[in-house]
């Protein structure tokens, strides 16, 4: 037997361990699925952790400004993987015409964070799985694997609970919910190599058409494609090995100002 586990095997085993640790504490959990490559990878790992039968809902926060490919992908795989899919929208804000034109900060906060708050209140989730990674953004590099949010959804990043070895925090009474981050130690390239190895489906938006592709996807209104000829997974992996541009550089919410991401996150943003 090959006793030398590859880096991808190590990451997979650790993520499955984390997913199971969280579920052993909380039965009323959900997984956030943005339909992007990271959360689809997380979904794949969650399917592995539970032998294909995910015992909790998969939650999509829908701003209604997503790419049409995202909606098609969501419907297709929700069915194929037999997911208990919940779609959450901040209907009120949408009805009032909230959009990125009112400012990216405002829009993200209303259509994502507020929509999530409402969903948590409605379904009573005690913990949420999220597919964030430390290498995405400096502020995310500070995250814990189990990260508490208080009743106002705030992330007290100055006073995070210790995590020792593989022992994580459990939920305290005054907390709203815990965020669980099984992919925290993965890097963008690990995700792609894993997608390739496991044949995980991802939307076509990630592959180049007419010299452009999306490296990170969110709302159509706030994402710009990068110049690229990578039209297959192999080429995407190659491109990442040589690229020096950071991943989220095409996303408006990171650019607007230095601390927008910190502010958004401390208010409960994903």
């Amino acid at each position: 037997m090959n006793t030398n586990l590859s880096q991808l095997d190590k990451l997979e085993n650790q993520s499955i361990f984390i997913i199971r640790e969280a579920y052993s504490q909380f039965r009323d959990v959900a997984m956030l699925w943005s339909i992007g490559k990271d959360s689809t990878t997380l979904l794949w790992l969650v399917r592995k952790a539970f032998f294909g039968k995910i015992p909790f809902p998969v939650l999509h926060i829908d701003t209604t400004y997503k790419f049409k490919e995202i909606y098609e992908f969501r419907e297709k795989y929700a069915k194929e993987w037999n997911l208990n899919l919940l779609v959450a929208k901040n209907e009120e804000a949408i009805a009032k015409g909230m959009s990125h034109e009112k400012g990216a900060f405002q829009c993200c906060n209303e259509l994502k964070t507020m929509a999530l708050k409402k969903a948590i209140a409605k379904y009573g989730f005690k913990a949420l799985y999220l597919g964030i990674r430390r290498d995405e953004h400096g502020i995310r590099a500070k995250e814990r694997v189990f990260s508490p949010r208080d009743e106002d959804f705030e992330w007290d990043y100055k006073n995070q609970p210790p995590e020792l070895w593989d022992q994580y925090k459990t939920k305290a009474a005054e907390e709203e919910h815990l965020r669980v981050h099984p992919l925290l130690g993965w890097r963008e390239i690990d995700v792609w190599e894993y997608v390739k190895r496991e044949n995980i489906p991802v939307t076509d938006l990630y592959f180049a058409k007419n010299g452009k592709r999306y490296r990170s996807i969110g709302c159509e209104t706030c994402c710009s494609p990068i110049d690229s000829d990578a039209d297959t997974i192999e080429k995407v992996v190659e491109e990442l090995k040589t690229s020096k541009i950071s991943e989220r550089s095409g996303r408006a919410q990171d650019k607007e100002d230095d601390y927008m991401m910190q502010k958004l996150r401390s208010l409960g943003y994903m």
Binding site: M1, T3, L5, Q7, D9, K10, E12, N13, Q14, I16, F17, R20, E21, Y23, S24, R47, K48, A49, F50, F51, G52, K53, P55, R134, D135, G138, I139, A141, K142, R144, Y157, K158, Q160, P161, P162, E163, L164, W165, D166, Q167, K169, T170, K171, A172, A173, G185, R187, K244, I245, S246, S249, D258, Y259, Q262
Partner: protein, 409 residues
């Protein structure tokens, strides 16, 4: 490609962030937009661009110029990829430093050659030793400030060595560097012609990955039990050895014996799983396992006991008092417990014995303790199987202490 994670620790202002920044810069690990972002952020708050700035991502960290929480950054050499865990140096944030260090496979201790060994130099290295991190490289920084004096280097090295010996840390190397100027960071420096050892980057490439204990008797702590179709799948991570179909196994604490019917992994056909793999397992008899059960090899069982003797570090502001309701967690085992005796209280930065036989324990103190657990726990010597030789103490759902078991039974 292999990945090695190491933590950088040291007293505040001894140059951790500068060293990391320099390393990223010299290995061309910084994207151009990052450099831009940092330049913009530095000028926005009226500070000059410093390498140190790269790592401080919280508004407060940038304003105050101190690292509050650990950050992880990535870079690679032709040999492998690295995760650097930047741990805060300020005494206020030692719990964050411990969080960071507990995730690392190796450690770098940085000492300002002008200031020499300071309080956090001692405390951090003691914590490394308690956590069992035995691959340590010491860098003596700011050599530019002492004109690259060999004499000064040797003097600080001697001090550091004395301290490290007293806490059983044997460093692999002492390297004279200037993080700011780049001497001996990624290139060997002409300014230290008296030094013939490897530069910092070369020293990293000699560090070893932690090996999961594959050649030991199998240990499989149960995380959870899932009912999938008509099967009860016991899931967990193999913490030692190999688990195979057909293995005779014993279950602690019940003492029941049975056999492994199948090793399960979704979408794979398996007959075995090795240490560090997360898998499922079914048994031939319908024994009912639960979270916290330890599956092991008959004849090589861990010790089952309700008395745990350990070195423990208290890492929360609220001092320990005997009326606190505590829980111990060791691998997936969890039970309430009480600290029966605090045999010795130690100041973690001087090793001074504060008291023999005490009933309090303050933040950052280390103690030799005897813990009584409500239900028996299966434990191992930390040096044998780490996962069953270390534990945390939880109070009010927060981890408030960690401990290492170095003599069992």
């Amino acid at each position: 490609m292999d990945v090695l994670s190491f933590v950088i620790v040291g007293h505040v202002d001894h140059g951790k962030s500068t060293l990391i920044g320099r390393l990223l810069y010299d290995t061309e690990s910084l994207p151009p937009d990052k450099i831009e972002e940092i330049k913009k952020a530095s000028s926005g708050q009226g500070r000059r661009t410093e390498f140190a700035y790269l790592l401080d991502h919280l508004e407060e960290e940038r304003k105050q110029g101190i690292t509050i929480d650990t950050t992880q950054v990535f870079f690679k050499t032709p040999k492998r990829r690295y995760v650097i865990i930047d741990a805060p140096g300020h005494v206020e944030f030692v719990k964050n430093m411990i969080t960071g260090a507990s995730q690392a496979e190796a450690a770098v201790l940085i000492i300002d050659v002008v200031e020499g060994v300071k309080e956090q130099t001692r405390r951090h290295s003691y914590m490394l030793s308690l956590l069992g991190l035995n691959q340590v490289v010491v860098v003596l920084n700011k050599m530019d400030s002492v004109d690259f004096s060999q004499e000064r280097f040797e003097a600080v090295r001697k001090d550091a060595d004395e301290w490290l010996k007293s806490i059983n840390v044997e460093p692999m190397l002492y390297i004279p560097i200037s993080a700011i100027e780049g001497d001996n960071v990624t290139e060997s420096s002409a300014n230290t012609s008296w030094y013939n050892g490897p530069n910092f980057l070369e020293s990293l490439d000699t560090m070893q990955n932690k090996q999961p204990p594959e050649n030991k008797p199998m240990l499989f702590p149960i995380q959870d039990v899932y009912k999938i179709d008509d099967k009860r799948i016991n899931v967990g991570r193999v913490e030692a050895g190999v688990i195979s179909e057909g293995d005779e196994i014993k279950i602690l604490p019940t003492g029941e014996s049975t056999k492994v019917s199948a090793v399960e992994k979704f979408l794979e056909k398996r007959t075995q799983a090795i240490a560090s793999e997360s898998v499922g397992m079914t048994t031939t008899d319908s024994v009912f396992l639960d979270r916290g059960n330890i599956v092991c090899v008959p004849g090589s069982e861990p010790v089952l006991t309700d008395t745990v003797n350990a070195s423990m570090f208290w890492m929360t502001k609220r001092p320990f008092s005997s009326d606190m309701k505590l829980t111990i967690r060791c691998a997936t085992q969890e039970t309430s417990c009480r600290i029966e005796r605090i045999n010795k209280r130690i100041n973690s930065s001087t090793l001074e014995v504060i008291a023999e036989n005490s009933d309090v324990l303050e933040n950052l103190e280390v103690a030799q303790v005897t813990i009584k657990t409500k239900k028996p726990v299966a434990i191992k010597d930390f040096n044998d199987v780490q996962e069953l030789g270390r534990f945390v103490i939880v109070h009010d759902e927060n981890i408030c202490a960690g401990g290492i078991i170095t003599h069992v039974g």
